[in-house]
Symmetry: C2
DNA sequence: ACAATGTTGTTCAGTGTTCAACTACTAGCG
DNA sequence: CGCTAGTAGTTGAACACTGAACAACATTGT
């Protein structure tokens, strides 16, 4: 608590640019999806994860983890998505507490229609302003930050050439 | 509309890492501030901008622009901050429509107390996991993205050595 | 079998955010 | 001057999110 490691001028500038850029991106993505597809970004994410899952269904807690969202938020979201007919809840036979969320055919269709506009927006906002090299660096940086904050969400670190083990591990 | 420029596998990975990392950062910052200082990140930003302004006051629209927020959101926020006694509204003599938001002494104090914990969190979440070089690159990247999305918020581009002009510009 | 502990998912109340409508004023132009 | 158009700021209703509390079930250990 004693001495705060304040940000110097350059760090401040970096932080504010990052804050501004991230906000701009996510707000615009949210607006775009809400306008063109009738769902906010977080709901879109939920549909994406479901669409990628085995049998287009997932346990609630797993869906929450994959979407990087809280169980409470997901529960609300699925209720809403159920009203729209895009997701259905199913009881879980293996675990009496559990519940599956399933992507309906309508939900899959909604996702298919929403995807192009969303991807285009991601490109316009994030990738187009950057060089290929910058994109690569951004990937590395993001993964490192993610690994520090949410190790459970980060992909495994790059398989770099490592010093050979002895091979006599016991 | 015809052909969507889909993301390839690497772009996907980059996008998801960026999405995850940003979300993790902002959610944690919000939690931290709400817990330790009783205000969400967006309100903190408002106080910061006011504290840096001439006379610790700003016109609402200018405060909204600087905080990267909408007028509506700011209006609600200032109402809330006013109830907390951290901000006060003042009529604007120059413009009958206008209003100033002023940071109160209490608000300044609240900001002073909130700052260390917030800065520490920013460091832990964003800067500590990165090398100095990565931080520098992140700065450049963020500024470019910000300039593309919100030119009004971006700092002027770096003063790089440019081809000398003729000096006979007319 | 039983108690203690942990997990899953939902709900509630409180709060924040969005969009569109609205009032009040200013500015530009004939 | 009077008209039109634009800007500043606020409001309300619908919606989303949070943390905490809760019920239901699973797991562990004895």
């Amino acid at each position: 608590m004693a001495d705060t490691r304040w940000l110097d001028a350059e760090e401040q500038a970096t932080w504010r640019a990052f804050l501004g850029a991230s906000r701009a991106i996510f707000e615009e993505l949210d607006r775009q999806l809400l306008r063109d597809a009738g769902m906010p970004l977080t709901y879109y994410e939920v549909l994406v994860r479901l669409s990628e899952a085995e049998g287009r269904q997932l346990r609630m807690h797993e869906l929450a983890r994959l979407s990087g969202t809280s169980r409470s938020r997901l529960s609300h979201a699925v209720t809403r998505l159920e009203e729209q007919g895009w997701v259905a809840r199913r009881d879980c036979p293996e675990d009496g507490r559990g519940a599956y969320a399933t992507l309906t055919e309508d939900g899959f269709e909604a996702l298919r229609e929403a995807a192009p506009g969303h991807v285009e927006a991601v490109r316009t906002l994030l990738f187009d302003p950057l060089t290929a090299e910058q994109v690569a660096t951004l990937g590395t940086i993001s993964e490192q930050v993610l690994r520090a904050a949410r190790p459970d969400l980060a992909p495994p670190p790059p398989a770099r050439p490592r010093p050979p083990t002895t091979g006599t591990t016991g």
